[in-house]
């Protein structure tokens, strides 16, 4: 495989994204230039017809010639079985499954699935990325034998698919790296992209504010306002709290990664021109804790799409949540079914029976009381791809065209409506978090976490 090193030069220190002590406010203070910076990745040779698209939330993802994001379905351990695909052995076929598997405890298998008459096959929901008869493998890109005699592309051994939910370049509606990784989620699909251009000590994790830079052990990475060019500001007592992240003696500087000499012969990594540190007092990994010290900031390789104007970050008794302009906590709905092909059921185009059972015992009117849609005001408008305003039929739960009788104009995140909770009474309440099967992860509602100071819903 031929890897082309990024030609991207290191950018000015001002390009480092930060979230400091007052990060709720700082989030909105990020400049247009900062927002325009994207995560660097390692250029690699690809078969003809593929491309890399830098998506708003996910960073660099592979896409087909039409711009549709590519996904894989790696094996995941569920409670009673494993689901997904092993490397080199795709199983997603044209069988239309009629019953559940019982792979998610405690309920048994053999139950007829909701809306079974219109349920698609696996390939109906996840069209495989087919390889032409004369296609040749390139680097990590190989050709594998799929069900029904198909030849399909694979990356790093995992068969590749597109999602019928994605309609245009930059859509990543089929799956997200921001998903909680938990045996309760079911075996979900993941967007596939090139390796990030990072030194081996680092990795990137997706969170509400963007792609957060961490060490491999998930300690957050920080930068310091007191570090000026040619002079390090964190010395002496400061080093009791923050540890410089040292670079190996023999390294090649790469892309946005350079080094500064902390003391003779001792090199410290710098990202986008700023020396980087970990926080010695960090109690959970990763966290915002170091950024609570004056002048210190978390580091993002790419910022997430800006929240809609007027949305707020509210303090709760465990951390922070995203709220609407009135301070009401916002919720998302998660769903993955229990059939062998583990299809998504969280989107308005998919079966609504799962959601309606948990919010209203099948009664859509009751759901409008327990989990009302977050409606958009007449003057509100969407400024990003991931946050949009759409029209929904509250009875069917389906997207409809503007002007449709009875339709509600609602906010959507990742092309799915967001909700409020009928039980929340004041800013900071989140009575409907973890609501549903497997605490809302498998089929249910989760609060839009910004910061979880105690658990693992966010950093």
């Amino acid at each position: 495989m031929r890897q082309l090193r990024s030609a991207m030069a290191g950018v000015a220190a001002a390009g480092v994204f930060f979230a400091g002590a007052a990060f709720a406010q700082a989030e909105h203070a990020w400049s247009k230039e900062q927002r325009a910076l994207t995560e660097d990745y390692i250029r690699e040779e690809m078969p003809p017809g593929f491309q890399v698209v830098v998506a708003e939330l996910e960073g660099a993802v592979f896409a087909d010639a039409s711009g549709k994001t590519l996904y894989s379905w790696p094996v995941m351990a569920l409670r009673n079985a494993n689901a997904g695909e092993m490397k080199g052995k795709p199983t997603c076929g044209d069988t239309v499954y009629k019953v559940n598997t019982g792979w998610m405890s405690p309920y048994p298998g053999g139950l007829e699935l909701p809306e079974v008459e219109t349920r698609p096959s696996c390939v109906g929901a996840w069209p495989p990325v087919l390889a032409a008869a004369d296609a040749k493998p390139v680097g990590k890109w190989t050709i594998v034998d799929g069900p029904e005699g198909r030849k399909q592309w694979a990356y790093d051994g995992q068969a590749l698919y597109t999602s019928v939910l994605d309609k245009q370049k930059g859509d990543v509606w089929g799956g997200t790296s921001t998903n909680l990784q938990h045996d309760g989620t079911g075996a979900v699909r993941w967007p596939v992209g090139p390796d990030r251009n990072l030194p081996a000590q680092f990795k990137v994790m997706s969170y509400a504010y963007g792609r957060l830079l961490t060490l491999q052990n998930e300690h957050a990475v920080y930068v310091f306002d007191g570090d000026a060019k040619g002079k390090l500001g964190c010395t002496a007592e400061c080093l009791e709290r923050f540890a410089p992240i040292l670079a190996p003696e023999r390294i090649q500087q790469r892309g946005e990664w350079t080094t500064v000499e902390r003391s003779p012969g001792v090199k410290q990594w710098a990202y986008r021109g700023k020396p980087v540190y970990s926080y010695n007092l960090e109690e959970k990994f990763p966290s915002f804790q170091g950024a609570e010290e004056a002048g210190w900031h978390n580091v993002y390789t790419q910022l997430a799409p800006q929240f809609p104007k007027g949305f707020r970050i509210t303090d709760t008794y465990t951390g922070q949540m995203l709220a609407d302009s009135k301070g009401r906590t916002i919720y998302t709905y998660n769903c993955n079914d229990d059939a062998a092909d583990q299809l998504d059921c969280s989107h308005p185009s998919q079966p609504q029976s799962y959601r309606l059972a948990l919010c209203g015992k099948g009664d859509w009117k009751r759901c409008l009381e327990t989990f009302p849609y977050l409606t958009a005001g007449p003057d509100e408008k969407s400024e990003t791809h991931f946050w949009s305003i759409k029209y929904i039929n509250p009875e069917t739960g389906r997207w409809v065209e503007a002007g449709t009788a009875g339709a509600l104009r609602v906010w959507a995140y990742r092309d799915r409506p967001v909700y409020l909770c009928g039980r929340d009474k004041k800013p900071g309440d989140y009575a409907c978090d973890s609501w549903g099967e497997w605490s809302g992860i498998r089929n249910g509602f989760m609060g839009f976490w910004i910061r979880d100071a105690f658990g693992d819903n966010a950093i």
Binding site: M104, A431, W435, E437, G440, G455
Partner: protein, 369 residues
């Protein structure tokens, strides 16, 4: 300097006089400036149990989600996902508000013996009497719902196991009591008891036992809702407090709800090393049901054969206080058996400067809505 000298002298004397004196020295350290702190280490619903359970649960223990599913939907017939799994889950999340069991038996403890506190000062027909017969009028109707559920019975009920396990594993649920204005751990007619949520792990010895002497940072940032104060008195080493409304930080696997408790109070035997006894109060049955479901999914509830839909119906049957808009009781009397270890509670300087310590307000009426 004086403190160091005093400590040295105490240690020397303890070596000479033996462990009794050592204990006094420890008390001297724990009770400083009229203040002592405790961190909760154990909390279990107060469930009265006989050795074989036959006295209180003559019909045996209750079915859980798996057993009920099999009874409702026999395997030899075809069923739909909507009519079975989703129907059962909807009963967890948006339950029918009824005490009817719809053919699913639910066994509530029998007899008059129970553990807990007399919350209303009265002796009613449904109240319990303590196992030693000394306390009458015990209000602990939640025992009717939990007493014959395997999950809540000791020593190995799965809920009990995980609550204790998570007491060590997580910090969200750290529950602190700080006693101020205290002259003696034996008798003091007027002390202030303030609840805080703590931010630190519990102190353990090498065998995994909780030990006194740890440090706990009080959470004045995220945990402001938990800061509540009550007046109390100590008589013959037992602390009792006046009723106040509080929140308890509950946590299990995923959710992190706070439990609203009305008229909460404690009865704790205090020592310099810890405290042990009971706490009681009234729980909003809607919030309780919700918190149970959020805390632990049906899968986990199945471990201990615990059916939340059945328990909810029992809550409705046995709710005994604070009627709601429909005139029916919306709260249920409850009791927990609790243990604490002494801990040094520290407050951030800003909270001390702002006078935020030792005077939390009781929950407002708005919080009860």
């Amino acid at each position: 300097m004086g403190k160091i000298l005093s400590k040295t002298l105490a240690t020397a004397c303890a070596l000479a006089a033996g462990t009794v004196f050592a204990s006094v020295a420890s008390a001297d350290e724990a009770l400083q400036n009229g203040k002592i702190g405790y961190a909760m280490t154990n909390k279990n619903w107060a469930v009265y149990q006989t050795p074989d359970g036959k006295a209180e649960c003559p019909n045996g223990l209750n079915d859980g989600p798996r057993e009920q599913f099999d009874k409702l939907y026999p395997r030899d017939k075809k069923h739909t996902y909507i009519d079975t799994q989703l129907e059962r889950e909807s009963e967890v999340w948006v339950p029918e508000k009824t005490a009817e069991t719809h053919g699913l038996p639910f066994y509530e403890p029998q007899g008059k013996i129970g553990i807990g506190l007399n919350l209303d000062g009265k002796v009613g027909p449904e109240d319990f009497t303590s196992p030693d017969g000394k306390v009458t009028g015990i209000d602990n109707q939640i025992y009717r719902a939990f007493g014959c559920v395997a999950s809540y019975r000791g020593p190995d009920g799965s809920y009990r196991h995980f609550v204790e396990s998570y007491m060590q594993q997580y910090k969200y649920n750290r529950f602190l009591l700080e006693l101020t204005g205290i002259d003696s751990l034996t008798n003091d007619p007027d002390v202030t008891v303030t609840i805080y949520r703590g931010l630190d792990a519990l102190l353990l010895d090498s065998a995994g036992n909780f030990i006194p002497g740890g440090t706990q940072r009080a959470d004045h940032r995220w945990g402001k809702d938990y800061i509540k104060s009550a007046k109390g008195k100590i008589v013959d080493g037992v602390l009792t407090t006046t009723p106040i409304d509080i929140y308890i930080p509950e946590t299990l696997a995923r959710g992190a709800p706070k439990q609203f408790v009305r008229d909460w109070r404690v009865e704790l035997r205090l020592t310099e090393d810890g405290a042990e006894g009971l706490m009681g109060g009234y729980l909003d049955i809607e919030r309780l049901q919700n918190n149970l479901a959020q805390n632990w999914a049906t899968h986990f509830r199945s471990y201990g054969q615990e059916s939340i839909p059945s328990e909810y119906r029992s809550f409705i049957r046995n709710a005994d206080a604070y009627p709601g808009e429909d005139g029916k009781n919306a709260f249920i009397s409850s009791a927990w058996q609790i243990k604490f270890k002494q801990a040094f509670i520290v407050h951030p300087p800003a909270a001390v400067a702002a006078g935020e310590t030792g005077k939390g307000e009781a929950a407002t009426a708005a919080a009860r809505q």
